[in-house]
């Protein structure tokens, strides 16, 4: 019999992070090894997807985020041009090499033209899987947008019912909404720690904790987040002399872990748009009334912003400035994934705006598959030093 070790915050956080990192790298579970309560897996592409609908249908939502920098491209190079962003190409590769064979379906969105093409690629190569574009609107300002989104969500609900042979009852949807509300509230707390006490939680730790939801049931993720937050709050770390920066450009393709580590080494990343889709709904979805309407209305009225969503109420410069202001940041790291047209367009717009506003920034281009970080590390280090010098 072994004696129970006393609770240690660092060890607890380490365990949670190990679980998150393992989930990030694990293959999809086989059909007979699915978490309890799920009959299948539903893949979805960034940015936002109403996971509650899949969850209520008994399908575990899997956010397909490409292959990172450890995936060998054997098939996709012949199927997608070299000018297409890495996440689209590696997602196709994961499909073609069989890694996503366990999906019951794959849903993409009209965030960009390359992402829409994934639906065609899926339907041509994996006809046995449900392959869909969920047409979330690019106009959320016209009265009638909520009604349209609700109709689109009902369509998705019916497709999933057909695929699973199981009715998605309103009550099940409300239960899923409650679970996800709790989860999103914890994610907001996580980001509040980053903003208020950034020395207690690094960008890479936060990213691993957030990303884990893409590969595990919301219930398990919420429990992990709760444990992590408790451990983080008790961390006895002291603030260092690092500039406070906001990171943008990670709304879809994810920067490699090594890149985020480079940022952490030199700066406090006090806010970011990494995996913004998981945090898209910025306040609780109403837990009473028509659940589909509640989700649709939340998408329009209580939501974040990104370069791939046009919303007349949220200019790209406006939301970046709000992030900087609310996080009390000294500067911005403006990134874009290679070949990401919306990201590259906004990167330029942001840099011109920050020039006018007199706010320091660093422009970086990344690719999920990049493996060399020396040059980037030098850029970030130089930038951070110049900021510290200017702020001293």
């Amino acid at each position: 019999m072994t004696a129970q070790l006393p609770y240690d915050h660092e060890t607890e956080l380490e365990h949670v992070l190990e679980r998150c990192n393992a989930a990030r790298q694990a293959p999809l579970p086989a059909k007979d090894a699915l978490p309890e309560g799920f009959s299948g897996l539903l893949g979805h592409f960034p940015v936002y997807f109403p996971e509650e609908i899949a969850h209520a249908a008994g399908l575990l939502p899997v956010n397909v985020l490409g292959g990172g920098n450890r995936l060998e491209m054997k098939h996709a190079d012949a199927r997608m041009g070299s000018f297409v962003c890495s996440i689209c190409r590696s997602t196709a590769e994961l499909g073609l090499n069989g890694s996503l064979a366990g999906l019951a379906g794959f849903v993409t969105h009209p965030i960009c033209d390359a992402a829409k093409h994934l639906a065609g690629i899926w339907s041509r190569n994996f006809p046995e899987q449900l392959s869909q574009i969920l047409y979330l609107p690019q106009n959320v300002n016209t009265p009638g947008a909520v009604r349209y989104i609700a109709a689109e969500y009902q369509r998705l609900r019916a497709e999933l019912e057909k695929a699973t042979g199981r009715r998605v009852e309103d009550e099940a949807l409300r239960a899923s909404i409650r679970l996800y509300n709790h989860n999103r509230a914890l994610l907001r707390e996580l980001y509040a720690v980053r903003r208020d006490e950034p020395w207690k939680l690094s960008c890479i730790e936060s990213s691993l904790l957030t990303r884990a939801r893409t590969r595990m049931p919301c219930e398990e993720h919420t429990a992990l987040l709760g444990r992590a937050l408790d451990a983080v709050r008790h961390r006895a770390l002291r603030a260092q002399d690092k500039p406070r920066v906001v990171f943008v450009g990670g709304f879809c393709e994810q920067p490699p872990v090594e890149m985020l580590e480079t940022l952490d080494d030199n700066c406090y990343v006090v806010d970011d748009d990494l995996l913004i889709g998981l945090r898209w709904l910025s306040a609780d979805v109403p837990e009473t009334g028509d659940p589909i309407w509640a989700l649709a209305e939340s998408y329009v009225e209580r939501s974040a912003a990104s370069p791939v969503q046009h919303d007349a109420r949220k200019s790209k410069e406006g939301y970046l400035m709000a992030m900087l202001r609310e996080a009390r940041a000294d500067a911005a790291i403006l990134t874009a994934a290679k070949f990401c047209e919306p990201g590259l367009d906004d990167q330029l717009a942001w840099s011109k705006h920050l020039d006018e506003a007199g706010i320091p920034y660093l422009v970086l281009e990344f690719e999920e598959k990049m493996t060399s970080f020396e040059q980037m590390a030098m850029q970030v280090e130089t930038f951070a030093e110049s900021l510290l010098f200017a702020l001293a």
Partner: protein
């Protein structure tokens, strides 16, 4: 109600009609009118070729600027590189749409275009059919303070998507499109100080109906052998008029005369090429800086582009809607047809294999030529996979070439010529003896 015929300019006899000359004249006329717009105090709108509500804008007498056409015209006029370099010097990435970059160059050159001065718009309408439209319009919003209306058109959701007029899905989509039209109308009324005249809208729609009928006939005429026109050379002029003069009397007249002209050609058995040996489909967008050269590389071998998906998606997808406007209920009908066109003629680009398979049959195509454009992800992202699918499932010979819409730096003549020649040699082996005349001609030209 219909007074279209009275307002039409006198019809040129089809016998003396040269579509290229007449098309160029109309495009010059359009640019001349744009140049006068500011002086005359006319409202101006920026619109794109895919999903634009031109009928509504025309009912308010907006002068229409097509920034895509402006950009491609810089290519046709061999001036695009200057505009593109200006925008890259400003900071635009080499990896974004070259049309956008040429347009940013145009802004940096204070709207001086090789065809004339382009007026600033009072309104921009950008649809979601190509996501770059929205990012493009955001540039105008940012720089020029152009009010932007994003027209969200629900597209084809999956492969095998069957949506029929009047079914529940179509009704829901059309309702959403109509709600947006109502808001767009309110914006137009605020800009012009005029109320929408529904009779005027119906009159414009009636003209569009006639243009679409003629246009469908024009495309069907190219199903005969020999094909009377080349879809990727003559066809580019035709769709230019389809876009710029959609709903205008000149547009109806051009299309009517064009149909007559081509019917006469077909009756005479006159093809675009002297000896048509191969009928081809072209998938993708043109390379406007070298399109004449590209077509020449194919026609030398007796290959003619009988059809191109570009003729559908770059002309608003109207032909694919297979539905004409019901002018007795102009607004509702506009929404219904727009929703159908978006799904059958525009966003089905993401499921291109379905449409191409049908067109290969309809046009009796011997092969498909894919033209990938690095900076146009709307047409190019799924192209290689579509090609592989067609090769595998239909055993149709295909060729994949790459260049750009208007950036001459991406045109590699020798490389493209080699690939085209190899393609025809393979086609010749597949379908019988290699076309000696084409081979000899190709050899002569390369020498």
């Amino acid at each position: 109600m219909n007074t279209v015929a009275e307002k039409m300019p006198p019809a040129p006899a089809a016998a003396g009609f040269d579509p290229r000359v007449e098309g160029q004249r109309l495009i010059r006329q359009w640019y001349a009118e744009l140049e006068q717009a500011s002086e005359l105090g006319q409202p101006v709108a920026n619109v794109f070729v895919m999903g634009n509500a031109v009928e509504i804008l025309r009912a308010f007498d907006f002068k229409l600027v097509f920034p895509e056409i402006n950009s491609l015209q810089t290519g046709v006029r061999k001036a695009s590189e200057e505009y593109i370099r200006l925008s890259e010097d400003y900071g635009m990435s080499p990896d974004v749409c070259s049309y956008v970059k040429a347009d940013v160059g145009l802004i940096l050159k204070e709207h001086r275009h090789p065809a004339g001065r382009i007026p600033k718009a009072h309104l921009a309408v950008a649809s979601n059919m190509c996501n770059t439209f929205i990012k493009w319009a955001e540039i105008w919003e940012r720089w020029l303070k152009t009010p932007t209306f994003v027209l969200d058109l629900p597209g084809q959701r999956s492969a095998g998507w069957q949506v029929r007029p009047g079914d529940a899905q179509h009704a829901a989509d059309a309702r959403w499109v109509e709600a947006q039209f109502q808001e767009l109308i309110a914006r137009c009324e605020a800009i012009t100080g005029r109320k929408l005249d529904l009779e005027r809208l119906a009159e414009i729609e009636e003209r569009v109906n006639r243009m679409v009928l003629h246009w469908n006939n024009v495309m069907v005429l190219n199903r005969v052998c020999p094909a009377p026109y080349n879809a990727m050379l003559d066809g580019l002029t035709f769709i230019g008029i389809m876009n710029v003069y959609r709903g205008a009397p000149e547009g109806v007249e051009f299309m009517r005369t064009l149909e007559e002209h081509l019917k006469a050609k077909v009756a005479r058995g006159e093809g675009r090429v002297a000896e048509e040996r191969f009928r081809l489909l072209f998938s993708g967008t043109p390379c406007y800086v070298s399109m004449r050269r590209l077509v020449e590389l194919f026609e030398t071998w007796g290959g003619v582009f009988a059809y191109s998906d570009y003729l559908t998606f770059a002309a608003g997808g109207m032909d694919a809607a297979e539905l004409l406007y019901d002018t007795s209920r102009p607004l509702e009908s506009l929404a219904e047809v727009t929703a159908l066109a978006a799904q059958r003629g525009l966003s089905n680009q993401f499921f291109a294999h379905e449409r191409l398979a049908r067109q290969i049959r309809d046009y009796g195509a011997d092969g498909v030529v894919f033209h990938g454009i690095k900076s146009c992800r709307f047409v190019s992202s799924g192209m290689a996979d579509t090609r592989e699918y067609l090769n595998r499932r239909l055993e149709v010979p295909t060729l994949y070439i790459e260049s750009d819409l208007i950036d001459p730096r991406y045109w590699s003549d020798a490389q493209i010529k080699n690939r085209v020649d190899a393609f025809f040699e393979a086609l010749g082996q597949r379908g019988g003896a290699a076309p000696a005349r084409g081979a000899a001609e190709a050899q002569r030209r390369s020498a």
